[in-house]
Symmetry: C3
Subunit: 119 residues, 3 copies
Amino acid sequence: MSEFQRLHVGPRLSELSVHNGVVYLAGQVPDDVTEDIKGQTRQVLGMIDRLLAEVDSDKSRLLMVQIFLHDIQDIGAMNEVWDAWIGEVPGHAPPRATVESRLANAQYRIEIVATAAQK
Amino acid sequence: MSEFQRLHVGPRLSELSVHNGVVYLAGQVPDDVTEDIKGQTRQVLGMIDRLLAEVDSDKSRLLMVQIFLHDIQDIGAMNEVWDAWIGEVPGHAPPRATVESRLANAQYRIEIVATAAQK
Amino acid sequence: MSEFQRLHVGPRLSELSVHNGVVYLAGQVPDDVTEDIKGQTRQVLGMIDRLLAEVDSDKSRLLMVQIFLHDIQDIGAMNEVWDAWIGEVPGHAPPRATVESRLANAQYRIEIVATAAQK
């Protein structure tokens, strides 16, 4: 049986799984939905930082990132926050795709699905 | 050349590929589109069960699941069926993301993309 | 540390990452947005061909493909171009999922996210 791990496991979903050195994160959404797109993006990127840190990975090891925006018009403001965040690890910006979708809570402006490698 | 396998291969797509112990399923959609969201969800989860069983995996080994709903308002009803299904393997709920998208057939209420580990 | 590579790395994103024999491509979008869905699909599939060739992979090694269409009604015309492209490697059509989403540029008709195995 190959290496397999889950963290923050609930009855419906877990926040991440790890298999053979690859980390699969659940779609991360903001806790405080009263914030605007920039604030919500900061929250979600912070969650990704914290989850990756728990499994010996970090944002310099992202393999692919899918970003779902409630309104694609938010992409500019989201990118400002993203650029600052990923700019902290120069040369490590990951492949990315950004599309528009309604999300589970109408107040969510953003949801991010990330896959990363362990160190 | 690393281990590589496809199953149910057609001219346009195959239902799954396997590479180095990871199973990638095509987006699964319902056969009977006259059913409501609960029925369609049951159909799709059954398809996932059957496909994973063909390649020495099962729902306790899911790495990540992306759920696309025709109408995000269906999430509650979908979750009822999901919770019963994943509750059969306690402690193994996978990371998940659920967003709204129109699907290939206007009568599809749900499409699920799943990635899993072999045993 | 496992094998890790990125190509076409910018300050915001890179076009691909490679880890343990798996290639993750960024969402590919057309350069010439004046073309119709068929032309845009051809452009995007050509980009995928060129990127995979840079990392010792090709379209016969696709593990999973997610297609986002600006308008799901374009699926028939997109499939004509897809079928011709993937038909060049008979027996190697990958798992696929196609959904509708607004994309980063209102003139993009299609964005494709692909994962592939190296040879």
